[in-house]
Amino acid sequence: CGPFTKLEKSTNWEELYNGANKYYQEGEYNKAIILYEKVLPVIKGSEKAELAEYNYANAHFKIKRYIESAGYFNTFFRTYNRSPLAEEALFMHAYSLYLDAPDFNLDQQSSQEAVAAIQQFVTRFPESASYERAMEMLIDLEGRFEDKAYSEAQMYYRLKDGLFPGDFYRACIVNFQNFTKDYPESKRNEELSYKLVEVGFGYARNSAFDKKEERLKEAISFANTFYRKYPSSPYLSKVKAFEADTRGELESHLKLKKEYAEKTAEAEAKALSEAKIGENNN
């Protein structure tokens, strides 16, 4: 069998330790990890342990096992927080989590962990040379949260043309408003505010008779908010068109409502007078 297999079976910890370092230096990280695993519990508490533990974490990083490297760098930092390697370890912990963080369209829990780790790093080592890099990572991750929320908004917007339009028009209204609340600085607010006018109108137009007036007025209020916030928007003409449609719809609705009210009043009056006549006749 090869020298590695032989070494792997060795019980001489010094041999194992030197072997691990050798493989690490040569870039054979998988082998180095196997040997470090054997030797670490034994050398704990000796002067050799510190560097070995750092190398062990870094070997995982090199072979792109970021979840593991994040964990080991973190353990290293907590164990040797006064070591000259501590700053580097904490950065690598955050960086591992950052590299492991998935695309915006998957679960963002690990991105949130990465954000927490980066924040821990920049508070602990504000003078660090890696500070700028860490802040860039932070901005990138926060952008992903916004992308996620935006793609969710777009999904509701698409599904309003699907099988259950009413439900999704209403979902759009709530969701777009939540987006603005959660990301007030986002550039996408202009587009979503315009779409809010559109869905507000769409929702109102298809509403039941007794809900219509309130919802049309709400749509008009969305348009007014839009004018106030984005007076020179490229969407302006479209918003104005929606507003005009909404006002038209409101006018005809109010007319209908008035006619209906008159008719009911008339019918009631008639019924009342007939009843009176009946009474008088009796």
Partner: protein
């Protein structure tokens, strides 16, 4: 010297205790740190591990010192530690770490167990590198014993041996000698004190604590005969008093234990659960006060134990008056009707709880009245206000709360599947009033996606009482969902047929270019990719590939699919030695299909419409005559437009009990003959059939209805018919794409390429097919029918509803026929058959079936009646 912190062991050194002001900690600068008592460990390393450093400013007393102690302890490599103050000079403090080293475990070995268990135990007993201490060893031993206890081994023996490790200073090799002994089984579970409910019923409620399997009747008879004297033998054989039904039952329950599948293990945790199950069962029968007075587990033999349980049943209670308080939205009589419990009913806490809070079977309970309409905070608390004799008065105290609106909906745990693939299936939306049914429906929709573990789908509700809103997060856990099909089977005439299939249910076309998303293929967009190869050497091969996007356009669940299919059938000469294995001709079909399937909401939402466009190329070499074409070698092409309208509302795909499935489909080709003036009666077959021209209509309907309100007996009726026609008389009806009837109806067994296969049990495969008699002769008629009818009635009985192996039996009567021309078509002239069959469904294999059928009529060209036939089927047969 000032001693700080605490030591786990009393110190033997004399210490001068100086007064430290705990109320007012003082700031010091660390001037020096030293360590003493080290033999193998390194001083610098230990100080580094403590987290303290020269020049640090620390509070004494304060966190810095206690944290340092904690950090050192946590490493598990030292026997004891104290931090001493050796000197204080103004602001400067001098610290000394007083350590006691202990030997450490350098190696751990397990003896007497297999590799798998060793691997699992190594994770549980992870003490390599830690100091040798009794508590560490005891914990390890306990963990090993518990590990085996959970597997049903009660008598595990763990012996610990320690040895000096000579390769390393101050360290110890550890060896566990484990003797797991035999598994302990339960000989008998005995109940005492139960009068109202039988032993059998109670034992049945114990889900995991079961008696061991045995069929001891022969042994019992043997002991009776050998042990008994002549008198008692005579008595038992010529017993005059007849055995009561109860005697028989108890005899059977003692000597037959047919729980071969559930196994008999004694696991203390499960036993505790099972005792609760017994009490819950009593409670559900009105015995509100039932309890277990006493129970004991004792040794019966070397590897068997007995369990005795002493119960006190108490009396049986009934409901008297039920009143409601705190309800403003719904009236008490509405609530009482919903509750479905009446005065005089048996007091059953379990059912009461279900009817109040959540009834999984019906889904409509008292809470649903409120919680399906936004009242998320609704709660109802049944209080026993009065107990008189065996009657109980209940007061239902209700809190209605505000009507809650959904604010946001999100998902968590989708590590592979994109958000939109999951979110578009969610039925509870922002802006909606909270609705429990919609929530339950969503859980169902998410589990049918198949990407997530259905057991672990969990809606996390975060309500805000003030704002009357709720945020909902669906917690999910991904699971692999790809299928691999590897199968081999006998395909009738063709012999062994092997199949290799791969189905990827969560494919992503978009991510093909991004290798980081490959796992093992690009995943995440919910598309379905399937690949399949079916072959038996030279004679038959089929290759297919299909790709489906279930939400084409992203707005509606419109499934767009593309598929490619290539099949070859060869006639190989197996009989002539001279050209053994040479091809005597072949038939190939290559097709491409593009389809769009839509779910519609009108006339109701069980309807779906699908359209597809298909191109097919038929190529034959010395094969044409077997279809009745006048030319043996040539080629035909077709373009068809297919439309299918279907309505499906069966309640279960595997064992439908209720509902119907109706399908009407139509396939049309362009009318080439009227477009091409060169085609006339004089044209050769090759000219006429260069582009195939036909229209084909298929109708299938299945109805299911439960019998006598039972969930096991189901009657089903089916009707199937198909019509193939031409647009004019110029070329007649094509000889391809015709109907072939008889037998099991499986494509797999028939390999009838370019034809539509219809099964008819009780007859041989393909036997009811016009043109069969002239096939292969000089002047063949077209092979296959242009009209077919088939009617089936079935009576089904569900033997096992277990989802991992659903089994049902069936009795059928069916009739069908297949006609070569519309002139001959006579729907009253049908070939009849009847028989019995069985089906088993297992998720890994699909549906497997066997039928025995008796054909009452003679197939065309056959002299005697068809008689008894066996059929084996794989997969669902639609026609």
């Amino acid at each position: 010297q000032i001693r700080l912190g605490q030591s786990r062991y009393a110190s033997s050194k004399p210490i001068d205790i100086l007064e430290l002001n705990y109320a007012k900690p003082q700031k010091f600068r660390i001037a020096e740190i030293k360590a003493m008592g080290l033999t193998t460990l390194d001083e610098i390393a230990i100080i580094s591990l403590s987290g303290l450093k020269v020049d640090d400013r620390i509070d004494v007393p304060g966190d810095a010192i206690s944290n340092a102690l904690k950090k050192l302890w946590r490493q598990g490599i030292i026997g004891d530690v104290k931090i001493l103050v050796t000197k204080i000079e103004g602001e400067d403090i001098y610290l000394l770490l007083d350590l006691t080293e202990r030997p450490r475990f350098s190696q751990v070995e397990f003896n007497g167990i297999n590799k798998t268990q060793e691997g699992e135990l190594r994770d549980k007993v992870n003490i390599r590198g830690r100091v040798v201490r009794d508590d560490v060893l005891n914990t390890a031993k306990r963990n090993i014993e518990k590990y085996y206890l959970d597997k049903g081994y009660l008598n595990t023996d763990v012996k610990i041996y320690q040895d000096r490790d000579t390769t390393l200073p101050n360290s110890v090799k550890l060896r566990f000698d484990i003797d797991i002994n035999s598994k302990v089984q339960i000989n008998e579970v005995k109940f005492y004190g139960n009068e109202e409910i039988s032993d059998r019923a109670l034992k049945g409620k114990m889900k995991k604590t079961k008696e061991h399997a045995r069929v001891a009747i022969f042994r019992d008879l043997h002991t009776r005969i050998t042990d008994a004297d002549a008198e008692s033998v005579k008595n038992s054989i010529f017993r005059t008093d007849s055995a009561s039904k109860e005697d028989a039952k108890s005899y059977i329950s003692k000597n037959f234990k047919l729980n071969f599948f559930s196994g008999s293990k004694y696991i203390p945790k499960e036993y505790r659960n099972d005792k609760d199950n017994v009490i819950n069962f009593y409670n559900s029968r009105g015995f509100r006060d039932a309890k277990i007075l006493n129970d004991s587990v004792y040794k019966f033999s070397e590897d068997k134990i007995n369990v005795d349980i002493d119960v006190q049943e108490g009396r049986k209670y009934f409901y008297r008056n039920i009143t409601f308080t705190g309800n403003y939205i719904h009236k008490s009589d509405v609530l009482l009707a919903k509750l479905g419990i009446e005065k005089g009913d048996v007091y059953d806490k379990e059912t009461l709880d279900k009817r109040l809070n959540y009834d999984p079977q019906k889904g409509d309970d008292v809470s649903s009245l409120y919680q399906d309409n936004g009242y998320l905070f609704f709660s109802i608390d049944p209080v026993e206000v009065n107990v008189v004799g065996d009657s109980i008065d209940l007061e239902m105290r209700i809190f209605e709360g505000p009507q809650v609106t959904v604010n946001s909906v999100s998902i968590k745990g989708n590590d592979r599947t994109s958000d939109h693939v999951v979110m578009r299936e969610i039925r509870i939306l922002p802006g909606q009033k909270f609705n429990r049914s919609a929530l339950v429906r969503t859980i169902r929709e998410l589990s049918t996606l198949g990407y997530f573990d259905p057991e672990k789908i969990n809606p996390d509700l975060r309500p805000n009482f003030e704002a009357a809103t709720v945020d909902i997060t669906f917690e999910l856990e991904e699971r692999p969902n790809d299928q691999i099909e590897l199968s081999g089977g006998w395909g009738g005439f063709y012999g062994f047929v092997g199949t290799v299939g791969l189905v990827f249910n969560n494919f992503s076309v978009k991510n093909i270019g991004d290798f980081s998303k490959w796992d093992p293929l690009p995943v995440g967009d919910g598309q379905k990719l399937s690949l399949r190869v079916q072959a038996n050497g030279q004679t038959f091969q089929n290759y297919s590939l299909s790709l489906t996007e279930p939400w084409f356009g992203g707005k509606k669940p419109n499934a767009l699919s593309f598929s490619f299919n290539h099949s070859i059938q060869r006639q190989v000469d197996f009989f002539n030695q001279a050209n053994f294995g040479n091809s005597l001709g072949f038939f190939k079909i290559t097709g491409v299909t593009l389809g769009l399937a839509k779910r519609v909401t009108w006339p109701d939402d069980y309807f779906s419409i699908s359209n597809s466009l298909q191109f097919q190329n038929y190529e034959f070499d010395q094969f044409g005559t077997s279809f009745g074409l006048s030319y043996p070698t040539g080629n035909s092409k077709s373009i068809t437009f297919n439309t299918t309208v279907a309505r499906n509302n069966v309640d279960n795909t595997i064992y439908p009990r209720l509902g119907s499935n109706i399908m009407l489909s139509m396939a049309l080709t362009p009318p080439y003959s009227s477009m091409n003036a060169n085609i006339n009666d004089e044209s050769t077959d090759q000219q006429k059939y260069n582009w195939l021209e036909y229209h084909k209509w298929m109708f299938d309907a299945s109805f299911y209805t439960p019998l006598l309100g039972s969930t096991k007996w189901v009657a089903s009726a089916r009707a199937h018919m198909g019509f193939l026609g031409s647009y004019g008389n110029k070329i007649g009806i094509i000889p391809l794409e015709r109907f072939v009837m008889g037998g099991d109806g499986m494509t797999f067994n028939n390999f009838a390429l370019g034809q539509e296969i219809i099964g008819l049990r009780g007859y041989e495969n393909q036997v009811i097919t016009p043109g069969r008699e002239t096939r292969g002769t000089e002047n063949p008629e077209p092979y296959g029918g242009v009209v077919y009818n088939k009617f089936v009635t079935e009576l089904r009985f569900l033997v096992s509803p277990n989802p991992s192996a659903t089994i049902f039996l069936l009795a059928f009567a069916e009739a069908g026929n297949n006609w070569g021309s519309y002139k001959d078509y006579n729907p009253y002239d049908l070939k009849k058959s009847a028989g019995l069959g069985a089906r088993i469904f297992m998720p890994a294999f699909g549906l497997l079936g066997v039928d025995w059928g008796y054909g009452f009529d003679t197939a065309p060209g056959v002299r005697e009646r068809s008689g008894a036939q066996f059929h084996f089927t794989i997969g669902q047969q639609f026609r």
